[in-house]
């Protein structure tokens, strides 16, 4: 299972790949929607950690346009429900993630991204 909550935290960790290495770009993906328990306190606490533009852009790529372009200062229930769905209920099951900088491809099989680097890519 890879969800946007972890995708939004994940940059490329290949050797010397330190700039423009986030967000990893999804390609050829298959999605699955699975319900998760709603917890507004968790979401509010998590919001400062998010890179908002990356989240909105990625959600739109995956076909979800429910999030506003700017992170709102006042959050209501409707917004939190959308955020909940985007972060925790959309699962990327197959496909890959490509680093925008070094172009390393992290394949996703059975919902599990393969983050292993080759010997020459290890820092």
């Amino acid at each position: 299972m890879v969800r946007l909550i972890t995708h939004n935290l994940l940059a490329c960790h290949a050797k010397d790949c330190n700039t423009n290495n986030f967000p990893l770009e999804f390609k050829d993906i298959q999605l699955e929607i699975r319900e998760a328990e709603f917890n507004s306190d968790f979401l509010k606490g998590f919001m400062p950690k998010l890179e908002w533009k990356a989240l909105v852009d990625t959600a739109r790529q995956l076909g979800d346009t429910s999030l506003p372009l700017e992170q709102p200062e006042m959050v209501d229930d409707g917004f939190l429900k959308s955020l909940h769905h985007v972060l925790l209920e959309i699962h990327v099951e197959e496909g890959s993630m490509t680093c925008p900088n070094c172009k390393h491809v992290y394949p996703i099989l059975n919902g599990i991204p393969n983050m292993l680097l080759a010997e020459h890519e290890i820092g």
Binding site: L9, A11, D41, F42, L116, I122
Partner: protein, 212 residues
């Protein structure tokens, strides 16, 4: 039988058969559960506050199940595909990654409110190839520096492991300190050869407001 980490690298040692055996063994399950609860206790998170945790070497999800039960959201990394497959079968809630922690993490600064690791660190003490980047100090250094940056300030990381000598504890602790962590070693049941458990308790920025 010699210690598993001396027989083969973890992704080889925990093939399909060992992964299932390890997960189904009720004694392993009980030990793993006890150590996970103890790690959570040492993590000392503020009560009734949601948190996003990292399970380092999450294996087949034995600890993850407890994190689920306790209401934590989490991500888990492991180098053994067979163990992760068992975790999928057990339908744990966390996001799983196939990852070699000795290669370092790519998580952005401040991603996690806490991290735990049960019976994993000793695997980093064995060189897997003759390549210089795979020497244990190199791998430990990458692991601790990238982990430190992935943690929120303040927060804690609790790593239970099986050192085979005081030198190993010394090596691990000094590399963790160089990476910026405070904290130290906690030993449970120090006088029992069987029950003795070593926890490396690392603090980021003082380790949080809930000091014991």
């Amino acid at each position: 039988m010699s210690r598993p980490e001396l027989q083969a690298p973890p992704e080889i040692y925990y093939g399909d058969t060992e992964a299932k055996k390890y997960t189904q063994n009720t004694r392993n399950q009980q030990i793993q559960r006890d150590m996970t609860y103890r790690a959570l206790e040492l993590l000392n998170l503020p009560p009734d506050q949601p948190a996003f945790l990292l399970d380092i070497g999450c294996g087949s999800g034995l600890s993850g199940e407890i994190l689920d039960e306790e209401g934590y959201l989490w991500a888990g990394v492991d180098i053994a595909p067979s163990m992760l497959e068992v975790a999928l079968e057990r339908e744990v809630e966390g996001d799983l990654f196939l990852h070699d922690i000795g290669q370092g993490f790519g998580f952005r600064p401040g991603s996690f409110d806490g991290a735990i690791s049960i019976s994993v660190l000793q695997w980093l003490l064995n060189a897997e190839t003759s390549h210089p980047t795979s020497s244990p100090p190199h791998r430990l250094h990458r692991f601790f520096t990238t982990l430190h940056s992935a943690m929120r300030n303040p927060s804690r990381v609790i790593l239970q492991f099986y050192p085979s000598s005081d030198d190993q504890i010394q090596l691990i602790t000094s590399i963790a300190q160089k990476a910026g962590f405070g904290g130290g070693i906690v030993v449970d049941y120090p006088n029992s050869k069987k029950a003795k458990k070593v926890f490396l308790c690392l603090l980021v920025g003082g380790g949080g407001s809930q000091q014991q």
